[in-house]
Amino acid sequence: MSPIAQFPPRESFLKLDHVSIGFGPENERVNILENVNLSVKENEFVAVIGFSGAGKSTLVALLAGLEQPTAGKVTMAGKPVTRPGPERGVMFQTYSLLPWLSVFGNVELAAKSVFPEKSKREIRGHVEHYIEMVHLTPAMEKKPHELSGGMRQRVSLARTLAMQPEVLLLDEPLSALDALTRAVLQDEILQIWEQEKKTVILITNDVDEAILMADRIIPLTMGPKATLAEAFPVTLERPRERRTLTENPEYQHLKTDITSYLVNLNREARASRGTRIIQMPSVAPKEFRPKSRVIGIGGKHA
């Protein structure tokens, strides 16, 4: 069962402190992310929103410990994050299910690795519990290639949850799905979050999704040298109802604010790129028809 969260919830449970990550040698470094600061409270639901290619996945990798920053510190509960681990469960954009294992097998792999001391029966119960949580019990023995996109993402979720991580890092989990399945899964994730009470960082490109699900929405500026801008707090009451939300004036304001902020970001980025227009040399069109030696025939400008 879920570990008892420390009471009261810790501030700065997950922290990025002046983190930069880039490649290349010191003097010619190109930073993908520069000077990123983030402080996530325990049990908070944070959404990071931005355009594609800004460095969102890199951010997740940093938070998970899959990559190391070239500058700054990543800490969780005060301790530095040096390597990935089951306490920071990651849900990948591409699901990353092991295709030769069934649904049960995929979740079981996570359960067995994280809880080697549990007996076979306990593991079985554990796995079935999480599969039930994502409503996939009828498909328990199926292989990934027999499942739809939505079902696969559910398996991924179940697997991540089965690790019983302290932090859930969701890397654009729903972008590959159609709008209807997306809606269903958003509700499920929210429901599970309500139940399990974990710290969640959701990367997304959908403003509606962010507002629906998060406590705070933090935009990621354009890359390279992307950084986290100031957060937009979401004070809408939970549980949030999709249908009624669209009529909520606070929602509408928030959405407009965030959207225009992002559009501005984009314009600025393009503008800054725009000062680097290269001047074309001024040339006149070349004469293509040679002068004829015969009088009377020739180019226009004979």
Binding site: G85, F92, S96, P99, W100, L109, S113
Partner: protein, 537 residues
């Protein structure tokens, strides 16, 4: 209903998708579509094969070689019958040796009656052969006679004319004793002219001779056929003679009885020996008779190797080699895939040794293996193999091991390269999952790396098995290890009229077995493939 899906799944796994429409048709599903598919995937290939047979039957007789006509499908089929007959007869002799009691006597009676039948058949066949030969001879004489006569006559005329010419020239030479340069020049001219004439006559004679030789080589297929009928009967007679012997005096039962009688005789002699008889001698002979009795009871007919047994031995050898190559290639491949340094170290060896032909490896391997086993009959490994229940019958000896090692050396490259590739191309995301779950090295290896690589490994194994089968037949021919290769070698060295057809039979046998082996590998490959991007045909 469930059965249908089970069958269809089995068909899918085995890659024999052309059978699927048959199953569907049987269940009544969408008949039109199934018939179309059956037409395309079963009927058309069958027709293609028949067309091939037809083409073969037509083209083959057109090409005459010194080893006889190129065999047609029918002749090839008959040759298969011949091979089977030989195997069957040797098996029957083997069984006959061990028949006891009523069974033996029944078989003996049956054989003897067949022998009687044969007598009549043989007389008839021989008579027919004589008639055919006579008529062939007539035809032969009719055709060859005149040509021969013409040639002989031409030969005589030519030598005669040459003689007269030489005489004339000699006389001329004699008369030129006191002649001048002109006369002598003229004489030279005559000599030259004579040479030219001789040359021309010779060419004419030669062409006649060629015709004579050519005409002598006309063949009479009826004679061949009649000859073959006689031969088949005579072979059967030969077999029956030996068979009857092995059912009678030569049978183990009879021999054991005889040997027991001798033993009893010796025993009585020993026990009743008088005071002045040599007990040592009698005792020793008694012991010896007992030993002889024991050996006779367990003796068996030293049956020569026949093709079915040789095929099994070849299969054992190819599997041994394949197993060996997998045991080497898969771990090495995994290491190569995991460590780029190791890969860099191994790559030159792979590049260097991959193209080497098995026929080059084999002599080297034979010498090395021979060095390990100076006394093969008593080597522990050979003795060990001899004890294993089924395999022990197939005489595992250094030649077998050499062939297996050669197969391994030639086939391991495909598996090695594919394994390295498979291991090296593990999905980064999967590795990330492993990292998040903090899987240890061995867990990562067995739970993520190897399962990802498994389809490619099996693809490599499939290629390896195919290569191994090809290499094996070649290696067996060279090493004369008993097997299909030895059969091919023996058949070639026989140089009999059946040999040419038997070569074609071997082509089909080797091909069919290779096909079956490949199919088995396809099934394995599909079982481990986790996506529907299944193997090629």
């Amino acid at each position: 209903m469930a059965i249908k899906y089970k069958i269809l799944k089995a068909i899918n796994i085995s890659g024999m998708n052309f059978l699927a429409p048959v199953v569907r048709l049987a269940v009544g599903e969408d008949p039109q579509k199934q018939l179309r598919e059956i037409g395309r995937f079963i009927v058309v290939p069958a027709l293609a094969f028949l067309a091939f047979l037809l083409l073969w039957s037509v083209l083959a007789p057109k090409h005459k070689t010194k080893a006889g006509e190129v065999p047609t499908p029918r002749v090839t089929w008959e040759a298969t019958g011949g091979i089977w007959r030989f195997h069957d007869r040797e098996t029957r002799k083997d069984e006959a040796y061990q028949f006891t009691g009523g069974q033996r006597l029944e078989a003996l009676v049956a054989a003897k009656s067949r022998m009687a039948e044969l007598d009549a058949l043989e007389t008839k066949a021989k008579a027919e052969l004589a008639t055919v030969e006579a008529s062939s001879k007539e035809k032969y004489d009719a055709v060859v006679g005149p040509v021969k006569a013409a040639y002989d006559k031409a030969r005589e005329t030519t030598s005669e004319s040459r003689r007269t010419r030489t005489e004339a020239l000699k006389t001329e030479a004699a008369a030129l004793a006191n002649s001048g340069a002109d006369a002598r020049e003229e004489f030279i001219g005559h000599l030259k002219a004579a040479e030219v004439t001789t040359g021309k006559e010779k060419t004419d004679l030669d062409s006649l001779k060629d015709k004579y030789t050519e005409v002598q080589s006309i063949a009479f297929p009826e004679t061949k056929k009649a000859q073959r009928a006689v031969t088949l009967l005579a072979e059967e007679r030969q077999f029956l003679v030996k068979y009857i012997d092995m059912l009678g005096e030569g049978s183990r039962e009879v021999k054991v009885t005889e040997s027991k009688a001798k033993y009893d005789e010796a025993k009585t002699a020993f026990l009743n020996a008088g005071p002045d008889e040599d007990l040592f001698k009698l005792g020793s002979s008694l012991v010896k008779r007992q030993e002889l009795m024991a050996t006779t009871e367990t003796s068996s007919y030293a049956k020569p190797w026949t093709l079915p047994k040789q095929i099994v031995r070849s299969l054992l050898c190819v599997f041994a080699g394949f197993l060996l190559s997998s045991l080497i290639a898969i771990p090495l491949g995994i290491l190569c895939g995991l460590s780029p340094t190791f890969m860099a170290a191994t790559a030159p060896f792979v590049a260097l040794f991959k193209p080497v032909s098995p026929l080059v490896w084999l002599p080297i391997i034979m010498i090395i293996v021979g060095g390990f086993m100076p006394d093969p009959a008593n080597h522990w490994l050979i003795l060990l193999f001899g004890k294993i229940p089924f395999i022990g019958n197939y005489k595992i000896d250094p030649m077998f091991l050499s062939s297996a090692i050669t197969v391994a050396l030639c086939s391991l490259w495909a598996t090695l390269v594919n394994t390295a590739l498979g291991v090296g191309s593990v999905d980064k995301d999967h590795m990330n999952v492993a990292r998040v779950l903090r899987l240890g090295f061995w867990s990562r290896l067995f739970k993520i790396v190897i399962p990802t690589a498994l389809p490619l490994i099996f693809a490599g194994l499939r290629i390896s098995l195919g290569v191994g089968w090809m290499v094996l037949v070649a290696a067996e021919i060279l090493s004369t290890s008993e097997g299909i290769g030895k059969f091919v070698n023996d058949m070639y060295t026989n140089g009999s009229s059946q040999s040419f057809a038997q070569m074609f039979v071997v082509v089909f046998i080797v091909g069919i077995i290779g096909m079956i082996l490949d199919r088995i590998m396809v099934i394995f490959q599909r079982l481990v493939s986790f996506d529907n991007a299944s193997s090629a045909i």
